[in-house]
Amino acid sequence: MEASEGKSKKQGASRLCCLCNQRRPVLKRPKTLQQICKECFYEVFEEEIHQVIVKNHLFKSGERVAIGASGGKDSTVLAYVLSELNRRHSYGLDLFLLSIDEGITGYRDDSLETVKRNELQYGLPLQILSYKDLYGWTMDDIVKMIGLKNNCTFCGVFRRQALDRGAALLKVDKLVTGHNADDIAETVLLNILRGDIARLSRCTSITTGEDGPIPRCKPFKYTYEKEIVIYPSLLNHFLVLSLTSIVFFFHTYAYFKKLDYFSTECIYSPNAYRGFAREFIKDLERLRPRAILDIIKSGEDFRIATTTKMPEQGTCERCGYISSQKWCKACVLLDGLNRGLPKMGIGRARGGVNGDHQKETKKPASAARSLESKQCGSLDF
């Protein structure tokens, strides 16, 4: 396969787009290495996502759907493509943008500006929730306390809950996130490396949490990150939409131009373990582009006994959120932060709230006293 592609490269100028055979090709498609023109790229990009939505029955007509919008390339393109497909194929969906402010100076500020612009552009209502409002701590505060080693755990746990709470506030039926093929492939690898068989069985599902409060799905499951980066940079009608979009266009184009695949990295991320897997996948993609989809396929095909899949679902005693333990993870982490024991909730549970009931019954009063912030359950829904 690669040999024939190499040949066509040399004949560059005389070749035509592989798909339409009419226009000049402008790029080599990352997923398939096909040489295609701009129009065909949009078409095939959008059509593939439409097929994923249809084949996997992701939506029902009339549903209220919240798009988890971080302001990064994935969620911006997701917002655009979803609203476009909703219109084009008449999905009949009620779309919203939902954004979370983790309180990371210099990173999230720019992203949120993008999200606000998206609201203007696509006329999608926007809701912003901050960690400060929800938990009483910003990520900057947390990092000041715990350093750079386990901060991603905190952010991830809090963000997941924040999205669910926001979705509940807006009374939406479904949450949509911009997780792409690279993300899912990374997660499969990480779960193998960490020994988490239960998560391994769930992480390739396109829809998760169907039996929970808000199901969430990932329409970009088979979409390559590289293609998501390319897509807006080619799009001219972003310019046509509104003046504010010019700023957006350059904003995204700048990311693309940098040619650094990971220019949207969170400033705290260099120490995250996920970096190992990410580098590996980047190298793998260079050797064999379809390997990303192959990892996802392997993840789907793993023979995992159904008994290992779901831990029992209950509710958190402290805040009422969904949890498989006595306290939900966010409450455990918050408790640790507020008591100045930042390691609580990190690593395997030995003692602590969920492991040792007796310790907690000894001093319930002081636990309440030491809580400086609002409890997670302060938002009614």
Binding site: L284, L293, E300, F302, R303
Partner: protein
Amino acid sequence: MACNSSGCESGGCYGREKDNGCKVVDVKETVRLCVKCKSNEPMTFGDGGSDDGRFCAECFRSNVYGKFRLAVTSHAMITPSDNVLVAFSGGSSSRVALQFVHELQVKALKNYEASRDRSLPVFGVGVAFVDESAAYPSLSGGMSDAIAWVRSTVLSLSPPEKDLHVVPIESVFGSDSVEARDRLVKLLDSVSDETGKEDLLLHLKMLSLQKVASENGYNRLVVGSCTSRLASHVLTATVKGRGYSLSADIQHVDARWKVPIVLPLRDCVWQEITRLCHLDGLKTVELARHPQSGINDLVSSFVALLQEENPSRECTIVRTAAKLTPFYFNKIPETDDSCVPMATQRRLKKFNLKYDGSMTTEAFCPICNGPLNGSDSSEDESDALYDACCSSCRFQILPQEPSSLDHFGSLLPHHMISQVKHHQKFDSQTYLREKIKDCLLLDDEEAV
């Protein structure tokens, strides 16, 4: 243990509580003793690995040998009536496997000679060395020396005597060496993907081992794969879309083949093996290792990187993969037990260590012998070989142009092609219910 701060559990000191004057005195600092037997001085290998300087030589050795023996007995890998062929590459892992199997055999012989009724016979051991120089011409220079070394090594491991079989990899094509070599080269040249080429050679290597084993009356094939090798395999399989068949490859027993494969060193890590070779003075020969390129090489480097960051990563990877559901053939098959001693038969039945060999519910890819997942089946039944293969082999081994498939099929060894015809028959019978709409019934063959 000497901590006097109240409420402090040993090993559970938090940072703050330590500042309250908790003193932990390490008694062992002055006199270092083996942590297991607490009587001998611990060995230091100085190789920068973990667990250095914890065990004495004897405890270390018995630890590794113990893992080997546990694997053998708990999976009925080698029983008294067996004839075992050890695949020997000259590397550390297979050298240790050979050594341990030899020691097991020596012990069995001692017991046999000491027993009055001579009820338990001693299992036979042979050694097979695959000569890959036809595939990797760079190896041919040192090959004759390597073979001579292998021969002398095997000779030194007697009594009991062991036959040595030097197997050229092209022997899968037949006995005419010139024609076979030629065919091998043609086959390899028609595979354009580097990783596919490497993997195809691995499959051919296994076929050649199977061939020599069954032709010489062996009923077990011992392969020296260790935890580290399996960890790389887990990742390469994942990355190639072979998630379904992965659990078949990493168990202790793999009875898909005519001669079941056993992995007695599965629970030992590379570090233990190299240390043991060093300790016991076991010599190895590293043939100018054909450079791995492509995906296999990338994964090896990745695993090495992970090991640096956390020395127990390989074990975690294999442990995760071990949680996947194995297949029915990952146990020793039930065969005609007339020559197996009663005691052994009883034991095997008691621990459910065998399965009924006549039960086959899986179809296998003719090239890699991986069990096929339902999702692997192709939409159009255009080419028998294409349909029969798994999606991974279709991509990396089979030629991309449909017109070249026939020619490619003619280059494959007979054993692989015969599987294709078998698959076709199997397919129409067993998968009928699932593919009832798409399946074209070509003709009404024997109804089951």
